[in-house]
Every structure is written in structure tokens, then in C-alpha cells.
Amino acid sequence: MGKELFYYFVYPGFLFIAITGGILSWYDRKITAWLQFRKGPPFLQPFYDFLKLLLVKETILPAKGSKMTFLLAPVLSVTGAMLAGILIMVPATGIDTGFTGDIIVIFYLLTIPSLTYIIGALASGNPLAAVGASREMKLIISYELTFLLAVAAVIMKAGLSISMLDIIALQQDGAFIGSISGILLFVVIILTMQAKLGMVPFDMAEAETEITHGSFIEYSGSAYALIKLTKYIMLFILPVFLCILLLGGFRLDGIHILWSVLKVLGIVLLLTIIRNTNPRVKIAQAMRFFFIWMNLIAIIAIVLILFGF
């Protein structure tokens, strides 16, 4: 019992994921600053931001809106992200829970943060938040099918195995990315992750310059701190998920620590560079991009897998 609780809450569970996510958030901001020839924030900046919002600031509830739903939405988003994170990290660190089919559960749990952003934004009763929520909804509709196709392609590549441990074990003598279909899937999943994280080419749901943080406009104080925490968690677990799907796992023992850290840092570096060198697209352009081009690439990858490439 005590060992399981340690797995879930300390390592490799909640505490580890949250702290690593905070450090990755600093890394993202520092790389952004370097790309713009600035110096960037200090190392502990994400933790200062989180603690300030959690401990110091006042939480304001909307006068015309559902207060209970407004406050529950961030709690649910942290819960969903945390559950997905634990289900990803436990097989990644080689702990066998005997749970087959966890990849499907993870796929659904990764949608919960976006869904709760929509619920919270609509509960706040702010018109700009409603615009943000409707954009987020359209974005989910466009990228979820692509993400599902990519995950299905990886499952097919692993010989129809739906267990994360099997997928990791199959890649020990050659990661999936070392084939044509693997490279195509990598491109698709990186761009889907960009949309899932709400980073710049697809950040129309929280566009600062047009709808002033959109879905999160009414959040303040500890409720906003929980949303920040969700963002930190997602910034860590999605790269780890990609590592497991295509790059041969995320092992944290011996020399493998170095490779795992380099893999995650490389993926986040790629995401940050895409975020800093692209303008925000319109929602219709994003939908066309995912529905036509990304789905096409994912289907080509599936066909290639059927022919054994």
C-alpha cells in the first residue's frame, strides 16, 4: 500500500511530474528569450509564479456565472492531467502494474484538460471567454482525429498491442522512428502536441492580443495557479508520451537517464522553435490543416505500416 502511494504521489507520480514540468516551462521561456536576443527569466521563475498565484493573490468569482463549476473546472483539469501523467510515467520507469490497454485510457485522459478549460470558460459568463471556449472546441474537433490515427498507427506498428510496456519492450532493439512511417508519425504527433499544449501556431483559444487570454480571462489567484500547474504537467507528459510511442521509451536508470533527458529536452526545443517562428493561424486554417494534411500524412503512414515500411 505504502509503495503504491509513493508511486502515485511522489516518484514517478505527481510531485516529480509537477517539478519537472516547472523546470521544462522555465526551459521553454529561456529558449524563447534566447531566440529573441533577451536574457530571460531566472531558473525558479515558474515556481515563483505558481506560489504567488496560489498563496498571495485573491480569487475573484464571477458575479453572473456558475461559481461552483467555475472553481471545479481547474481542479478537474489538474486531476485529469495528473492521472494521465501517472499512467504514462509508471510504465515508462519500468514498473509493471499488469494493466493492458492503458494507452487507450491515456488517450482519453489527455483530452480532459482541454475539456475542462471549455467548461470553466463557459461557466464564467464572460463573452471573450465564450469566444475562447468555442475556438478551443473547434480545435479539439480538428486535432483529436489526427491524434487517434497516429496512436492507432503506433499500435499497428507494435503488432496490435495496446500495452505501453509491450510498446516499450518492442523498441529495445530499434525505435519506431527509424523507418519512413515512423518519421511521418513523428511530424504528425509533434504538430498535434503543439495544438494540445496551446502553443503559438494553434493558440487561438487564448490569443493574448485579440481576446486577452480567452478561456482564462476570468481566472485569478489559486484557480489560475491550478491551470498553470496543468500547463506545466502537460508540457512534461506529452513529450514523454511521444518518447514512449516512437523514440524507444523513457528509462530512468543508469546511463539511460542522459538519453531520456536529452530526448525530452530535444522535443521541447523543437516545440519552442516552432512556437517562436510561426504566426498564429485562423481557426478555419487550423481545421483545414489538421483535417486534410495531417490526416492524409497519418493515413499514408498507416498504409506504409501495412506494407511493412
Binding site: R29, G40, Q45, Y48, V56, E58, I60, G221
Partner: protein
């Protein structure tokens, strides 16, 4: 200095309110955020919503229409919030002080924590003002 106050001072998020400004102070505030001066070194960030703000930067002369909006913004901001009046117009009224639509300098409308005079103040002056604000003994803030 307590732990809470330390975290607060390490991560100040700025919200920018421009009154009936000539745009010069606005541009100098933006210059603070650009690579040459880069206030993100101190953890400061420009945010788009007053709900996330810790510092309310007010510049430009405040006329009758701006007064209503400034009061509304101050009322909606989560406490504690610091107010900085930037430029001659924000501090005293400047050349607009005797205009018939002028509604008084910022400190007649909401409590102000720091003044940065100048027409417009240089980015160095704005950063110096913020450093003085950070070193100031915190006054007890009333939750309005």
C-alpha cells in the same frame, strides 16, 4: 521579508492602462519589455487580463471618461495590487492639468504606490522606479 512577499516580488505581472495619452509613455513602457532592457529578467510579464495582474501601470492624463474605466479596472483587480503612475500626465496632470475634461491626477482617483515622472520617462527611469517600489516597505492593502 516573508516567503509570500518574496514570491510576490519575484513575479510581478504587469497590466498596462493608457489614459488619454500622447502614446509616448506607452512606447517607453514597451521599450522596457524589448531585448535591450528585458524586464523578464526580474520575472515581469505583460498580461492581457486585469484578473492576472499584480501591477497596474497608468500613464496619460485621465479625463472624465477614463476615470470611470480606471475605477472599474481597479475594482476588478485581485488584491494585492500595486499602482504605478508613469509620466508627467499620470503623476500631476502635466500640460493637461487645467483642461476642462481633466479628472485629476491618478492619485486623486486610486491609491498610487510609485511615481515615475518624465515626459516621457526613459526606460531606465521606469526600471529604477520599479526597483524603488520593490524595496519599499509594503503598506497594508485594504481589500476594496
Amino acid at each position: 521579508m516573508g516567503f509570500k512577499e518574496f514570491c510576490f516580488k519575484k513575479s510581478l505581472w504587469l497590466f498596462h492602462f493608457g489614459g488619454a495619452s500622447c502614446n509616448n509613455c506607452d512606447i517607453e513602457i514597451l521599450a522596457c519589455l524589448t531585448p535591450r532592457f528585458d524586464v523578464e529578467r526580474f520575472g515581469m510579464q505583460l498580461v492581457g487580463s486585469i484578473r492576472h495582474a499584480d501591477v497596474l501601470l497608468v500613464n496619460g492624463s485621465i479625463n472624465q471618461k477614463d476615470k470611470v474605466r480606471l475605477l472599474e479596472l481597479y475594482r476588478q483587480a485581485p488584491k494585492p495590487i500595486l499602482v504605478v503612475a508613469i509620466g508627467a500626465c499620470g503623476c500631476t496632470g502635466g500640460i493637461f492639468a487645467e483642461s476642462n475634461v481633466f479628472a485629476g491626477p491618478v492619485d486623486k482617483i486610486i491609491p498610487v504606490d510609485a511615481y515615475v515622472p518624465g515626459c516621457p520617462p526613459k526606460p531606465e527611469a521606469i526600471i529604477a522606479g520599479i526597483v524603488k517600489l520593490l524595496n519599499k516597505k509594503p503598506a497594508k492593502q485594504k481589500t476594496a
